[in-house]
């Protein structure tokens, strides 16, 4: 892992949802970064904001969501700032996503083949894409100017309010005039940009058309040559020539767009890759004819058709049982190695996390409470919530009563003032109810947000015995295996 190969950086991401009851603060300042080829697992109960974080990265938040603050840096671009149109290039093509329930994320009345190829066909008009690429920078210029104008207006309003408050009403007039001048200059610019855009559109249309006609002519020539050979040969040769002609025609079509044939060929390759036997036959079937594991494979195949390099898996195995789960996890690992994918893996199953993750982020009430390498979090957990999570699930060796986490997660309509976990935490101190703990550094790779790590905290609080015991047995088991 080289430090400069950061794939994704999330910095202080804050997302809220507008509802009739008020603002639900789903994500409250999440920061992490992802190295190339790394798997980050995000763990937490439902409602902790892990899915919202991943959806923010994908840019598929619901309409009532607001990104209040923060940045998501991917390939030197801030995903929270870029436009929906620019997002089209990233979503699916660069960032793929696998959803939780394979049954509800597939269309039940659409054949599998159509669902797998749909994305390729929709995004596959090469000529249109070329045209868009030519025109896009000019269009963006217009949009930028419009944005600037809007910003100036907003700024003016704010300034007026501040001026009024500070009793400098006299300055308002000059300020207004100043801004108006700026805006009118921008408007002129906008006009020029618009006319330029129209010209550029026409030009682009012509170049693309020309290009296409040239290509078409080339193929027409070739086909003509072959046709000339047909007359006067025997039946067998004729067949071969006819085949050649149809092949040439198909190639010509492929220059224009992704044809159905091409899409299906690619779909078969990808489906083979994700381990679906007899993909050609399977393409003609409906989702209900597939078992749970196979359905999840289809969903993975759909995500892979566009060759993403960042894959977000949102609880891909929660709806599956152990044996199928193990198969799907192995598949994701294999694909990750083969395609050099960077993976964000969201789950609430700690066993799965241990299997998949290089690094683990534990989320609670919209915040990351502990982040570190898998070894850090599993062998040296520091946050009481991580302790609670680890001790609430039975192990194959555990016999004692499970220590359940009392109560329920806080209502994020009214986010708690202090540490969100304080109410359910038996180690909570007074300060936990008063103030939110910052991230304390434990080691280079390991951070946790709990006041227990503060210098003034009582030193005698250790992780519960159950976990200590379990870690000891785990270590013993690994040692034994190594010695064997």
């Amino acid at each position: 892992m080289t430090k400069d190969a950061k794939k994704l950086e999330v910095d202080n991401l804050t997302v809220s949802f507008r509802t009739t009851q008020g603002l639900v603060r789903a994500v409250r300042g999440v920061s992490f970064d992802l190295d190339r080829g790394e798997t980050l697992a995000i763990v937490g109960e439902s409602g902790s904001g892990k899915s919202v974080t991943s959806r923010a990265i994908m840019g598929i938040l619901a309409n009532n969501a607001i990104i209040d603050d923060g940045r998501i840096i991917y390939e030197d671009e801030d995903l929270t700032k870029i436009r929906e149109e620019d997002f089209h290039k990233l979503r699916g093509n660069k960032v793929g996503m696998i959803f939780q329930d394979p049954l509800s994320s597939l269309n039940p009345i659409m054949k599998i083949g159509k669902q797998v190829t749909e994305g390729m066909l929709v995004n596959g008009h090469h000529l249109k894409n070329k045209y868009k690429a030519l025109v896009h920078p000019h269009r963006r210029k217009i949009l930028n100017i419009k944005d600037d104008i809007k910003k100036l207006k907003v700024q003016l309003k704010k300034q007026i309010i501040t001026l009024k408050e500070s009793d400098k009403a006299g300055e308002i007039g000059t300020l207004k005039a100043d801004t108006r001048r700026k805006i009118s200059a921008l408007k002129l610019e906008l006009k020029a940009a618009k006319s330029n855009y129209r010209v550029k559109c026409k030009e682009a249309k012509i170049t693309v058309k020309k290009d296409w006609q040239q290509e078409k002519a080339k193929y027409a020539e070739k086909i003509k040559n072959v046709r000339a050979k047909i007359s006067g040969t025997d039946e067998d040769n004729k067949k071969a020539y006819r085949k050649e002609i149809s092949l040439l025609k198909e190639q010509c079509r492929r220059y224009k767009k992704v044809t159905k044939k091409e899409a299906i060929e690619r779909a078969v390759v990808v489906m083979d890759e994700v381990g679906i036997p007899e993909p050609i036959k399977r393409l003609k079937q409906y989702p209900f004819q597939f078992s749970g594991g196979m359905r999840q494979r289809i969903v993975i195949a759909i995500a892979l058709t566009a060759n993403p390099d960042l894959l977000i898996c949102d609880e891909p195995t929660t709806a599956l049982d152990v044996t199928i789960q193990a198969q799907i996890l192995e598949l994701i690992k294999k694909l990750k190695a083969e395609r050099d994918l960077t993976v964000i893996f969201i789950t609430h199953d700690l066993g799965v996390v241990a299997n998949m993750a290089d690094r683990v982020a534990v989320m609670y009430a919209g915040k990351i409470v502990e982040i570190g390498t898998a070894q850090d979090v599993f062998y040296n957990p520091k946050h009481p919530y991580t302790w609670a999570l680890l001790s609430s699930m039975p192990d194959l060796t555990s016999k004692a009563r499970l220590s359940a986490i009392p109560g329920t997660p806080p209502n994020m309509l009214y986010p708690p003032k202090g540490d969100a976990f304080a109410d359910r935490n038996k180690y909570a101190m007074e300060i936990d109810f008063e103030e939110q703990p910052p991230m304390f550094k434990i080691s280079e790779s390991h951070y946790a947000a709990t006041w227990l790590l503060h210098d003034n905290a009582p030193k005698n609080i250790e992780m519960p015995e159950i976990i200590q015991e379990r870690i000891n047995t785990m270590k013993a088991r690994t040692k034994k295996e190594v010695s064997q």
Binding site: G292, A326, A357, L389, P394, L402, T408, M474
Partner: protein, 389 residues
Amino acid sequence: MNKTTEQPILSVRRLKQYFSSGFGKQKMVVKAVDDVSFDIYKGEVFGLVGESGCGKTTTGRSIIKLYEPTDGEVFFMGTRISAGTQSLKESIKTMRREAHKQLAELTLQEKKSIEEAQGNEAKIDAIKKDFEAQKEEVTKDRDALIKNIKRDIPNRKEDTGKPNKELMKRMQMIFQDPIASLNPRMTVKEIIAEGLRIAGEKKDKEINIQVNRVLETVGLLPEHASRYPHEFSGGQRQRIGIARALVVRPEFIIADEPISALDVSIQAQVINLLNDLRQEFGITIMFIAHDLSVVKYFSDRIGVMYYGKLVELASKDELFKNPLHPYTKSLLSAVPLPDPDYEKGRKRIKYDPTMHDYSKELPDLHEVKPGHFIYANTMELEEYKKVLK
């Protein structure tokens, strides 16, 4: 557990549950549960594991008579509560066929003997008489046997068709999905009291007392009784489901994946609750799940199912220490543990059902070791025994 002396609270004998669909050429029979036998003893927790679609839920539903079993018998507290008739019908058919065969053979012999007699009238008469007597005997035997069997069919049908309310009251079920299994238009009190009313309780006062009692047992408050299910969180809803099962004071509960739809932090709460109930009231529980670590933690004995068959049955320690059937091994190797170093090096064992050679002899459930049953034929049984030694 002293199994030999104690009478099981529930015994399942050769239970079969088939579902057929379509007619004629398109007729398909799904053998959801195929020849499953086991006993559950008083006070224990019997875990049933297997992948989804292997028939563990169907087994539970057949036992509590949500389905009519195709074949086999279910005994609850010594009384037969349901029984299928398919095997009887089949045995009648085979008996008829055999009798028919015997008769045909006799006629053939008769003809032969007559030919051998070469026109000796007296001899022929004797032969004819002799064979007639023989034939009569065969038909008589057949009719008697069939009559015997046929007499059993209405018995079985009656046992299945008319549930013994007093007895069935003692068996209750907890369902998987706490959202789908509670009627959204009924208040918690109505949901819980429904079972009581069906069981014959009519006084409102008594019902109120009972409902409040169970609400308290499962850790809810009496004032929750007037609310609707959507006002509760997932864990609380599952508690309502448990309260509904508990209100009639059952002795045996079938818990069908009660925690798989719940959040991690809530799962422990529900498991602890079930554990308390079991210790407090001595309730016997049949625990159906696919999460092996939970089953291991919670059950005393575990049965492993694969495609409608019970492939292995043993006490939990025995099963985890000496898994014999390859499917059990594969299942155990797929359990994820919260231990990164172990997980990174984990080798999953794949199970291939074609690895068994059942062409010579069909397998059955055999006892390899006291309390440890396995689905195998004699050849495999020898091998398994060798492994155990």
